[in-house]
């Protein structure tokens, strides 16, 4: 059996593995603008032949979950999650609920809703 040479050992957490998961794409080329707090909801359960990471996302998102939470629960960098989500969105496996658009900020009604919510804490 051939032993991997120095520096050639398979590193589970290394960038190469992430490269494989995303098919070589990086977050910057993802066509969909996803915010850390964009809420993702699955349209169905995981399908056969789905990539394990994508199936995991679909399982997680049976109820709304933010991009940041998906990243946290799967232990994957946000940029990788974003690429995976772009494919799932394109295939209509999930839908996204974008955050309140910045153009509308600061919106008094929104701020007041947050104040009301905080007061109940």
């Amino acid at each position: 059996m051939t032993q991997p040479g120095p520096g050639q050992a398979w590193d589970e957490g290394g960038p190469e593995r992430l490269y494989v998961i995303t098919g070589g794409r990086s977050g910057s080329s993802a066509p969909t603008a996803l915010d850390l707090v964009t809420l993702i909801v699955a349209t169905s359960g995981p399908g056969p032949g789905m990539q394990p990471e994508q199936a995991a996302i679909v399982r997680l998102c049976q109820r709304p979950l933010s991009v940041a939470e998906i990243s946290a629960y799967l232990g994957l960098p946000v940029s990788v999650v974003t690429v995976l989500l772009s494919d799932l969105l394109a295939d209509q496996r999930v839908t996204s609920r974008p955050p309140v658009p910045p153009a509308k900020l600061p919106d008094i009604a929104l701020i007041e809703a947050v104040i009301d919510g905080l007061q109940k804490l």
């Binding site: 915010d35 707090v37 809703a113």
Partner: protein, 206 residues
């Protein structure tokens, strides 16, 4: 570090699941130096145990990060803790604690875009850390309040003395807080919201 991507059982506890009616989210960024209590504050008010999201910086980071002197390809992982507060059935507020160094802000694309505002968490023992943060938030036009986390051995500064030391305009609120206290941390967020409310009222009036 390890990535646990293939474990099928990960996910929120049943009590942490958002209702189907959750349609929109907003975010507030808690900025501060290392050890100032960002995660403590987030944890005090969050309805979920704070989670950690991460990003990796590889060669793609060259150009935005100061990698002078770094010759071989390297990967740096930086983490950001965050929490969540359900405001009502539709609206969810996320709180992200981020280090003050600008290189982290580049890494977290869009962290400040669309954020309602920021809280600059200050440790009076290391006031100088806050200068850069405040300057950068002002440049980016991100509205913020300053919260002074009380540490037992920190020197007591009257608020107005701190305002002078941090060169803050009179309009920017400074509040004292105890990041370990839920009520105190909630009041910090409330101070930010009141400030945003006043900004919005001014904008509408003009």
């Amino acid at each position: 570090m390890d990535f646990r991507s293939s474990e099928p059982t990960v996910g929120p506890r049943s009590e942490d699941v958002l209702p189907e009616t959750a349609t929109a989210a907003v975010k507030v960024v808690i900025v501060g130096g290392f050890g100032v209590g960002k995660t403590t504050l987030v944890g005090s008010v969050s309805e979920i145990r704070p989670l950690t999201t991460e990003e990796t910086m590889t060669q793609a980071g060259v150009g935005v990060d100061d990698t002078a002197g770094v010759e071989r390809k390297s990967t740096t992982t930086v983490a950001m803790d965050f929490g969540r507060i359900s405001i009502n059935d539709e609206l969810v507020l996320y709180l992200f604690g981020t280090p003050g160094q600008e290189r982290f802000w580049f890494l977290w694309r869009g962290l400040f875009e669309g954020a309602l505002g920021a809280v600059v968490l200050v440790d009076t023992r290391r006031l100088e850390v806050s200068f850069d943060v405040i300057g950068r938030l002002e440049e980016r036009g991100v509205p913020f309040v300053v919260a002074v986390n009380s540490f037992p051995d920190a020197p007591e500064h009257p608020i107005e003395e701190l305002r002078g030391a941090l060169d803050l305009p009179a309009s920017v609120p400074i509040v004292a807080c105890d990041a370990r206290s839920r009520a105190s941390s909630r009041d910090v967020l409330m101070a930010l919201m009141r400030y945003l409310q006043s900004l919005a009222a001014t904008t509408e009036a003009s």
